[in-house]
Every structure is written in C-alpha cells, then in structure tokens.
C-alpha cells in the first residue's frame, strides 16, 4: 500500500489507530451506578433512603454478630463478658449443640448412631434424586429405612431385618405364584379380601359403638342417654354385620372385574399376607434369631429422639410416603368407579379442610380411643401417619392439576396403542403429569418440612420444641431468643433452599423441547 502512494501522497497511515478508551463516566462501575442508582431525582432519592436503612441494619447486626460470645456457661456470664456492649450470646449454641440436634433425652453415647444414619441418608437419597447414578444403588435406598430405624432406635437388628425378609419373601412368592393362580380362584380371593375388609370395618364400627356407650356412661347417670347409646350400639352392630360383610364381598368382586389387569387382587393379597406375617411371625422369628446371634444396639424409646434430627426424620419419611399416596389419591379421584372416586374425594376434602394442628392433636390424644385397648401405637408413628395423610391430600391435588393439564390426546394416544390403564398411567401419563407438578410438589414438601415444627405443640421436642422448652426454660439460658431461633431458621433455610435448587435443576433436566 504505502509503496504505491509514496510519491503522490505525503503520508498514509499503515496501521489502524487503537480505539481510544471511552470516558470514565461511560465504563465499568461508574456507568453502572449512574444508570442504575442515580438515573433521575426519584431513583437517587430511593438509593439514598435504601442505603440509609441497609446501613442502619448492618451497623446493628455486625457488632452483634462479631462481638458474639462463644464461650460461656450461662446468659449471665455472656453479659459479664460483653460488659454492656451489644453482642450475641452464641455460647448457647455451643453449650446445647447436642440438644438442638438430637434432643435432650437421647443417650449421649449413641449420638454417633444418628450421625451415621444421617450420612447414610445422603447416600440413600442420591440414587433416588439423580437418575444418572447407577440404578443398582437403589437397592441401598430400599435397604436404608431398615438400617436407619435400627441405628436410631436401636434394639435387635433382627427385628427390621425380619420385616424386610418377610416383605421380600412375599414379593418373591407372589411373583412366582400369582400368574399361575386360575381366574376363578382369583375371583374368590377378591371376594374374600372384600369380606375381610367388611369384617374389619364392622369391627371398627363395633368398637366405635362401644365407645359411644362408654362415653354415655361416663357423662352422667342419665339412664335415657345410656339406653339410647345401647340402642345405637346394637343397631350399629347388627347393621355392620348384615351390611358391610356382603357389601365387602361384592365390592371386592367388582374391583376384581375392573382392575385385575393391574394385578390388584394379587397386590392386596400380598399386603394382607405381609400384615398377617408381621403380626404373627415377626416377634417369634426376630427374638429367635436374636437368641442365636445377638446383634443389638441399646434400645431408645421413640419419644427420646428430638432436636433437628426429629424434624429431618419426620420430613424425609413423610415426604417420601406422601408422594406415592398422593399419586394414588389423584388417580383415584379421576377414576370412573364411583366407590373409589368417592373414597378419594372424601379423604382429600376432609383432610384438606382440617388444620394440621388438629390432626396432630387427634394423633396425640384422640386416636387412642379408636384403637383396641391393648394396642400400643407409637406416638411418632401416629404423627408420621397424620402428617403423611395431610401432605398426601395436598400433593394429590397438585398432581390432579398436572393430570388435568395434559392434553386429552395423550390419554387417547396411549389407549389407541393398546396400553392398559396401569401401563398408560405409569409410562405415559404420570411421567408427564409429575413433571408439570414438580413446582407444586416441592412447594408442598417445603411447607411440610417446616410444618414438622408444629409437633412441638403436642409436646414433642423437635428443634422448636427444644428451644421453647428445655433451653429457654433453663436457668442458664433464660431469655435467649435471637441466637437460637436464628440458628433454627438457618438450618431450615439450608434444607429448604437445597430442595428448591434441586427441583429447579430437575426441571431443567426433564426439559425435552428445543434443547
């Protein structure tokens, strides 16, 4: 270039000038501040006011946090150390660390068992949460509840292992046998199961009626009330036996005819079998095995576990139980069979219409009335059942929303390929409906996890129960609020935020369009 113009033109620039830097006010932080914080008089005003409030809060929180006392035996010592300055008394966390996490009645030399169970939980949850991990790890997930039960509540290892053995044995036997059972045999089994349910139902009503007499007797001596109660009792008793037993047979047979493709009768028979085996075989087998090879941990009464780990246990157990129950309820509510649909609708509407705290009181106090007198039904188990039912009703409605959001064409396409009800639900409808429902389900799960603190009201010592009870009522730590509740809030936030992050990640994973 320059050669050709050398004679005619005095100067030709051969290289491009480097671009000049933009003015300071147009780059970096200054530009950002100008555009976002001071772009007009109103924004400037807002910025100043906001800065003022943030500064006020920080000027309070920072000294409070960094002056915090970590080493003291009581709130009074804390105050002495601080000598009038602002400062937190984190010593309560150090002093009551074990109580906050494990409760105040759990034997201290057994803390490691809970820690191990918690670490194993992370391992057991992983294959269920991340589908990329090898599927074989799910075996460990299935085994986990039994191991965790043994670790936390102790006793003989043979007890949970025998339960596991009974379940596995039943499954294997039914897998081998169920397809060989002839049709009329299955019909008879269906009718028999219905009859058993009818007997069970009438027995429950029978007890209810007896209770009525008992209540009438205890209220007063009014003979009119008592004799009325007796009358109702006998009517109920006769009615239940005459009505529910044949009704049960009929319903069992009807359900057989509609749902046998899904192997419902086999499943129900298996469940009944498991139940019978648990009632009659469990104790002798487990104690027998334990006599031969004793593997025991110190037994801990179920009420003795407390603290944040109680929240964790209630949360994980109830979420993992209420999801399948919620799916069943949602499908049941869509069923064409009036009986199934009716039962599901009544269940969902009733449970949703009642506050959780009421259900917990029922679990704590009332349920004992409806149980046979000799039964000894664990309180934690009762609470788990109630919370599970509660969140299952909500999850069912969320999933129903997901089911309703699917285009009708998906059902028709599955039908037109000849898939039966069970398969079209499992392979086509539910994967899509659940995917749509993830945000709603997570919403319920997070809410449920936080609601587990309500058990503190029925005097169980979960994290909040521990704070409200043994810690704040102790002479050393009376009137400690911010530190302990702040710590509790932090623990819950960590768990809930992780759940939320996981669900968003899962939604991205399941996205199948325009990747």
């Amino acid at each position: 270039m320059s050669d050709t113009h050398a004679q005619s033109v005095a100067f030709v620039r051969e290289t491009e000038l480097p671009p000049a830097p933009p003015p300071v006010t147009e780059t970096g932080a200054i530009k950002w501040v100008r555009e976002n914080l001071f772009s007009g008089w109103f924004n400037t005003l807002l910025t100043v006011v906001a800065f003022y409030f943030v500064a006020r809060i920080l000027f309070f929180v920072f000294p409070w946090f960094f002056n915090g006392v970590w080493d003291a035996a009581s709130i009074r010592e804390c105050r002495d150390v601080l000598g009038g300055a602002t400062g937190a008394c984190f010593a309560v966390l150090v002093d009551r660390w074990d109580h906050l996490l494990f409760g105040f009645k759990y034997p201290p030399d057994g803390y490691w068992r809970i820690v191990v169970a918690f670490i194993l939980l992370l391992g057991a949850a992983a294959p269920a949460l991340f589908s990329k991990l090898p599927r074989r790890l799910l075996l460990f997930t299935a085994l986990y509840p039994f191991v965790a039960y043994w670790l936390i509540w102790g006793g003989s290892l043979w007890l949970p292992m025998t339960i596991l053995g009974i379940i596995i044995a039943t499954g294997l036997v039914f897998r081998a046998v169920s397809s060989q059972i002839p049709v009329n045999m299955r019909q008879m089994v269906a009718a028999a199961i219905g009859m058993i349910c009818g007997v069970g139902l009438s027995y429950l009503l029978f007890i209810g009626a007896k209770e009525l007499v008992f209540i009438a007797n205890s209220i007063g001596t009014a003979s009119l009330g008592t004799s009325f109660a007796y009358g109702v009792f006998w009517l109920l008793a006769i009615f239940t036996f005459v009505f529910f037993i044949p009704m049960g047979m009929f319903v069992g047979y009807a359900i057989y005819n509609s749902y046998e493709d899904g192997g419902l009768v086999s499943v129900v028979t298996a469940l009944l079998f498991i139940y019978a085996a648990l009632v009659y075989l469990l104790a002798p087998i487990a104690s027998g095995l334990n006599a031969v090879i004793p593997i025991e941990l110190q037994a801990v009464a179920s009420r003795d576990l407390g603290g944040f780990m109680l929240n964790m246990i209630l949360g994980t157990v109830c979420v993992s139980l209420s999801l399948p129950l919620g799916i069943v309820l949602a499908l049941g509510r869509q069923s064409n069979m009036p009986l199934i649909k009716g039962v599901c609708v009544v269940f969902i509407e009733f449970i949703r219409g009642v506050p959780l705290i009421t259900l917990l009181f029922v679990a704590n106090v009332m349920l004992a009335y409806f149980m046979p007198p000799e039964s000894n039904f664990d309180l934690i188990l009762r609470v788990i059942i109630m919370i599970t039912m509660f969140s299952a009703a909500y999850i069912a409605e969320v999933i129903r929303g997901g089911l309703a959001a699917l285009p009708k064409g998906q059902y028709e396409a599955a039908d037109s390929l000849g898939l039966d009800y069970a398969r079209s639900m499992r392979l086509i409808i539910l994967p899509q409906a659940l995917k749509i429902s993830i945000p709603g389900i997570v919403n319920v799960a997070v809410g449920l996890f936080k609601d587990t603190t309500l058990v503190s009201i029925i005097s169980m010592f979960d994290l909040v129960g521990m704070i409200r009870g043994p810690i704040q009522n102790s002479t050393e730590w009376i009137s400690v609020y911010w530190e302990v509740y702040g710590f509790g809030a932090m623990l819950f936030f960590i768990v809930c935020y992780s759940i939320s992050q996981y669900s968003q990640w899962l939604e991205r994973q399941l996205q199948t369009d325009h990747r």
Partner: protein, 259 residues
C-alpha cells in the same frame, strides 16, 4: 357394495371382512351424533371419509377402536365383537393403528422410545428387536436420523410421520387416520400424504378422515360422504367426484373444490 367390487384398480382387496359396523348409533347426552351407521370394510380397502364439520366422521372412526363408546348396534373388528370388556378393547386397539390430527406423540420420550414403547409393553417384544423394527419403519417414513431427538424438536410433518411409524411398529392390520394433515403447514402436507400413499400401495386397510381430495382420487377405492351423523353417499372416487348423487354432496363438493 356391488359397484365397488367391480370397479377397476381394486387390487389387493380380499373378500375377507376387516371391519363390520351394523346399525350403530351414538349419542352425546341427548345429541344424536351417529345414526344407523352400516359399513363393511374389506381387507385391503382404502376408504376416505369426508363431510362437513360436526357430521360425525371423526366420531365414527374413533368408535372403531373404542376411543368413543357407541350405545346401539355392533362393531366387529377382525372378527372380534367390540364389547365393553377392557381386555377385548385392548386387544382390538393393539390390532388397529391410529393417527391423530395433533399427532399426540409422547413428548417426554425420544422418537425411538415413542416407537418401541407399545411393542415392548403390549406385544412383549425384546427391546433390541423392537428397536430394529422401529428403525425399519422410521427409515420407511424417511426420518431415521431423528431417532434420538424428542418430538418437540421436530417439525409438524416429521411428527406426523413419526406418529405413523409409531402405529406401524405394532404391525396393525388396520390403520385409522383422523384428519392427519389438518394441523400441518401446506408445505408439510405432501410429505405426510406421500407416506400414506406408500402405505396404501402396500395393501394396508385404511380409513382416512380427510379433506385432501387429491389423495382421495389417487388412492381411495371408496369415498364416503357423511352429513348429520349419517352416511349420505358412498362411491368409488371417479364416480363420487364427477357424478355425485345427492344434493348435499353436490353442495359440499362445490364448496371444497370450488375455490
């Protein structure tokens, strides 16, 4: 019936009856959708059903695989009488393929999984074998390279061809098409029709609800015109288009061919 039997170009049609509908009636509540439908389909026949919207043509073919329930009369598919028994219905559905207006592919499964799902779970065919069959039919509808994509990543025409392949993977003896090209862009209609024509040439028994009259002329050996829930007229295509009998048919044809 006699007329269609002696018409030319009817190769591949056997005397065997594929579908027999006798005196079938259907109501939606009090609305009488289908009135006294009588229809016999021989194996290998290609039938196009047309008619104004609301005339019951989609309902008719949806009754054949029991997506809709009929209240009166009988439907016999492949010698099996359609009843309300679930097993019976599933058997018939696995023998009868169906393509929908809106494709209805399963969006959470890949194209290949869409095609192998029913063979694996209904026919109990081993996965490997089902995948080979699926690839065979995907090649046939000319999109084997899309096998690992998801339906949402395909164009409408491609999706409809996958839907056809998905039905074919069950090796059905009868195919039902419910307005397969109505939801497609004009450019994509041809690729789907080509697939259907190829299928027809292989002797598949087909019932198509469609407004593609060119397709009807080319492959159908019988055109059925429906109005107000009744079969008004049925004839071979040449006769049907050039010499319609009833006034309603003439009006309909003038409206759809006139522009």
């Amino acid at each position: 019936m006699a007329m269609t039997d002696q018409a030319p170009g009817k190769m591949g049609i056997s005397d065997e009856v594929a579908i027999e509908i006798r005196n079938m009636n259907k109501w939606y509540g009090t609305f009488h959708v289908l009135r006294d439908i009588d229809l016999t389909v021989q194996r290998g026949e290609r039938i196009v059903i047309c008619g104004p919207s609301g005339s019951g043509k989609s309902t008719l073919i949806r009754c054949i695989n029991a997506l809709e329930e009929h209240q009166k009369g009988t439907i016999t598919v492949d010698g099996t009488l359609l009843s309300s028994d679930l097993k019976n219905i599933d058997t018939i559905r696995s023998e009868v393929g169906m393509c929908f207006q809106h494709f209805n592919l399963f969006p959470h499964l890949t194209i290949l999984e869409n095609c192998t799902l029913a063979p694996i779970w209904v026919r109990k065919i081993p996965k490997r074998e089902a995948e080979e069959t699926a690839m065979h039919f995907l090649k046939k509808v000319k999109i084997p390279e899309q096998a690992d994509k998801y339906p949402g990543q395909l164009s409408g025409g491609q999706q409809q061809r996958v839907a056809i392949a998905r039905s074919l993977c069950m090796r059905p003896r009868i195919m039902l098409f419910d307005e397969p090209t109505s939801a497609l862009d004009p450019e994509m209609i041809k690729e789907v029709l080509d697939t259907m024509i190829e299928l027809a040439e292989e002797g598949m028994t087909m019932l198509c609800v469609t407004h593609e009259m060119g397709f009807a002329r080319q492959v159908a050996n019988r055109v059925i015109f429906m109005d107000a829930g009744q079969i008004v007229e049925q004839n071979e295509p040449e006769e049907f288009f050039n010499n319609p009998k009833s006034d309603r048919t003439k009006l309909f044809l003038s409206q759809i061919l006139g522009h």
